[in-house]
Amino acid sequence: MKIGVFLCHSGPDSINYESVANYARNLPEVDLVRDIGPRPKPDPNLLAEEIRVRQLDRIVLGASSPGRLKPAFTRAMALAGRDPTEVRLASFREHGGGGANLTERAKAIVACASRGVPFSLAAVTELMPVNHATLIVGAGVGGIQAALEIADAGEKVYLVERTGTIGGHMAMFDKTFPTLDCAACILTPKMVAVGQHESIELLTYSEVQQITGEPGAYKATILKKARRVDPKACVSCGVCAEVCPTRVPSEFDCGIAERRAVYMPFPQAVPNVFLVDEASCTYVQSGGKKCGACAKKCPKGCINLDEADGTIEVEVGNVILATGYDVLDARRIEGYGCGKLPNVLTSLEFERLTNASGPTGGRIVMKTKQYNKRRKVDEWVLSADGEPPRSVAIIHCVGSRDSRYNAYCSRVCCMYSLKFAHLVKEKIEGAECYEFYIDMRAFGKGYEEFAERIKSEGAFVVRGRTATVTERDGQMYVKGEDMLRDSVVEFPVDMVILAIGLVPATGTRELAAMLRVPVEHDGWFQELNYNGDPTETERGGVFVAGACHAPKDIPDTVAQASAVAAGVLKSISRGKTVSSRADVNLSSVEARAKTLQVQ
């Protein structure tokens, strides 16, 4: 048999096509190897001529997705009077995903195609015995959902969370789109269930320090940061926070409100206990010389300000990454006045402002200038009795779909921005609301209807992203092009909300390196296969759920988390998990392909 191999460069850059071509030349029965470049337009007549001259019996088409090229080659085979079914595809993308060692993998795929053996049969991965416990990194809604699914099936879960409470970003939200459900009403029952579940070991205020081992038998070292409050004894009476003299911006409230050095992130936190932030605690920072008021006043005596960090080691079979996202730092973007103009808020800040359990009790108000007696300066503060804005501008795509910041679409901004318009219209009588958008991406179930509903509620939805927010004589102006009216518009506004994009959470790359899981160009974890395996990764027994994989809204995150749980439970019920898929052993694939061919 004479085989012709045609290689097209349409795949990932990390494949060394020259090396693949040289390898293919040495394969048995291969008569011709041709590199057909990145965007070939094969001509069946010319190909047929070549096939006839070379007397080729089989064509191997190697490319990222060679299906596109197949018809031309099939036709050429038919024209040359050969068997048109002998056009074999070597699909690098379908069989490889992204990740490391793509060249070796491509060679193996070509070798299988040249022998007419399916790659998936020849390249069986090893199965390893699996430990039944599961480690979940990140306890946002995705981590919580996966933990509950697995724990409800009776398996052990270690749920590690960096902050003092589980809940993640969803706990900060007031309403969810498009149903306008109360976010807390959906999330808090799940949080409480996690806190009380006998199969879930909750490790809040903890970070994964190191993960070693192999698929099915990972060993994780987890740093338990000193909470300095005994979680078993604390009854969250709050006396400690009352006496704490230190005030710092609250992370949970995105800095629009303050917290003490000893605090509980929010009243519904799970675990519902206080913790001491060592960075702002006077006692800790002074090395035990100053303050210590909270420990003295605690009626339960459960504060130990001298507690040290500890580590624990856990052995698990599977690891679920659910680390979520951070938001883009809007101060990087000039022109919108973030960080300079007081009433320019980011979307997350507005979420806290409009949240019924937020610092203003859910009243949407402008910041007012107040004299700070302690610091002796005028500062802009939010107080519940502030003036509500009469007009609010919401700017979409801030830092998203922008080659200077994030080239990708952050996917959730259009919808939450529309939700904001609804909240402004609902909470402030007679307020005007302007949405500046580029394209309205209302893609999900009920989303388009939601967008229509918001428009009918009277918000001005302006097609055209604004470029500048300026202040003249104490009044902010937003200027933009209204494309549908074909004019340049400038509106005076009292408040501007920037719909900032999503970026991978800090530490994503470190975690990926630790686990040898590939990350994409933008820093998101890379799934095994975009369409076929969106929850698994190159590394056996390591899964991704939620926004750490790509920007995602709540329904999609929850769905993916449940899917991940299914994958984990599958490996547990089989008792085996696949070993790393990143390393394809070329010689073993070759050997297996040979045996299969003979059969």
């Binding site: 022109g335 795509c397 779909r401 922008d402 080659s403 200077r404 580029i438 394209d439 428009k455 009277g458 001005f460 939805v461 302006v462 097609r463 055209g464 992203r465 604004t466 470029a467 500048t468 200027k479 933009g480 092009e481 209204d482 494309m483 549908l484 009216r485 074909d486 004019s487 340049v488 518009v489």
Partner: protein
């Protein structure tokens, strides 16, 4: 009327320098940051759109490219690196070639080699012509007087003839510009009175270039204004006081004072512009088309040879002065003949005309809007879409 679509319009414009027009996804950022973009002339996004849609006739009738001075804020802020500023620049080149009825500028803008060949040929022809004339009627060793190599009355006649021809060409092209942008538009009617009322904008824009000053930075405007005023000063001296300028060897401060100021302005501004383009100092300087270089280099050459022949004559080197004069003419004639009607210099007419026409069009559109609002069509409120 049916609108003809030219699917290759972007490819056509790319030959004039534009690069990434197809990248644009119409966020409107550029139109919002542009200090000149205002109703009814919103740009650069609308021009990008017209380009992407291939609406050649609409593009030809647009005045927007001439309202842009390429401060480059749009390109800096563009989230898609679509280079709207450079597109506007390329559109100015393209429009220049559309206004030009001879198709010569079409050739020059797309092939700088053709332009260089034309300049060299024209220079050689000029040199030959003047040398033949000089040797037949004068003495190469004398610069002025009755036996001068190039006698000023004769050069004067030549200058005026050339000016007449070039003005005629520029007038024809300007008339075509008027027809494309105002005259042929069926949606507006510009009353004659409007032309009279707005006529003052022509000289006011020509001499102050006040719109340029509204761009973010003042520096480029100032340099450009100095160049333009120096040029006008030198032009006046040569067209009306050529005899006084050339007569020597003494220095006639009544004319030469102006000559020196103009020379310093011309050389200084040209050097600043060349340096800016070399260093790519601001967004507007980042993409230099070959014609931009040819224009500036010619200008510098002409200014320097002009100064040289003047200095040589005053210092008594008449032979060298005559050679420098010849070299000067070999630069001036191709520069004016090829650049004024067909090249970058044509913007001396198109820019102020565009300001003038844009005011006429804006008035007419306002009148249209007033009429439609009166009869109850359209809404002054933002559309609730």
């Amino acid at each position: 009327m049916a609108i003809r679509v030219n699917p290759k319009l972007i490819e056509d414009i790319e030959q004039y320098g534009a690069e990434e027009v197809s990248n644009c996804y119409h966020c409107g950022n550029c139109s919002a940051v542009c200090p000149h973009s205002a109703d009814p002339f919103i740009f650069p996004r609308r021009s990008m759109r017209t380009l992407q849609m291939g609406l050649e006739s609409k593009l030809r009738s647009s005045l927007e490219p001439w309202l842009c001075y390429y401060c480059g804020q749009c390109s800096e802020q563009c989230p898609r690196e679509a280079e709207p500023g450079e597109t506007m620049m390329s559109l100015r080149r393209w429009l220049t070639s559309r206004y030009d009825f001879t198709a010569i500028s079409h050739l020059f803008y797309r092939s700088w080699k053709a332009e260089v060949v034309a300049i060299v040929a024209m220079a050689l022809l000029t040199g030959l012509g003047f040398a033949l004339y000089g040797f037949s009627s004068g003495d190469i060793n004398t610069y002025d007087g009755p036996t001068a190599f190039l006698q000023s009355p004769a050069v004067h006649v030549f200058d005026w003839t050339m000016a007449g021809v070039l003005t005629l060409l520029l007038l024809v092209n300007s008339a075509r510009m008027w027809w494309f942008t105002v005259g042929s538009r069926t949606d507006i009617r510009v009353p004659l009175l409007s032309y009279v009322k707005r006529a003052v904008s022509l000289p006011s824009h020509f001499f102050t270039q006040k719109r340029y000053a509204q761009c973010g930075e003042k520096g480029p405007w100032l340099v450009h204004l100095v160049l333009m005023l120096s040029y006008v000063m030198m032009f006046t001296l040569i067209m009306f006081f050529l005899h006084e300028v050339q007569a020597g060897p003494g220095i006639n401060w009544n004319v030469h004072a102006f000559g020196y100021i103009a020379s310093v302005g011309l050389i200084g501004a040209t050097v600043v512009m060349l340096r800016g383009r070399l260093k790519k100092s601001r967004p507007g300087n980042k993409h230099s088309h070959e014609t931009d270089w040819i224009f500036l280099v010619l200008l510098l050459y002409v200014a320097v040879t002009g100064v040289t022949q003047h200095v040589l004559h005053r210092t008594g080197f008449d032979l060298a002065a005559n050679i420098a004069y010849l070299a000067h003419m070999m630069g001036v004639v191709p520069m004016l003949v090829l650049e004024v009607p067909f090249g970058k210099w044509s913007h001396l007419a198109y820019r102020p005309l565009a300001m003038f026409f844009s005011e006429l069009v804006a008035d007419a559109l306002r009148e249209n809007a007033r009429v439609t609002t009166q009869v109850g069509i359209g809404s002054p409120q933002p559309a609730r879409v």
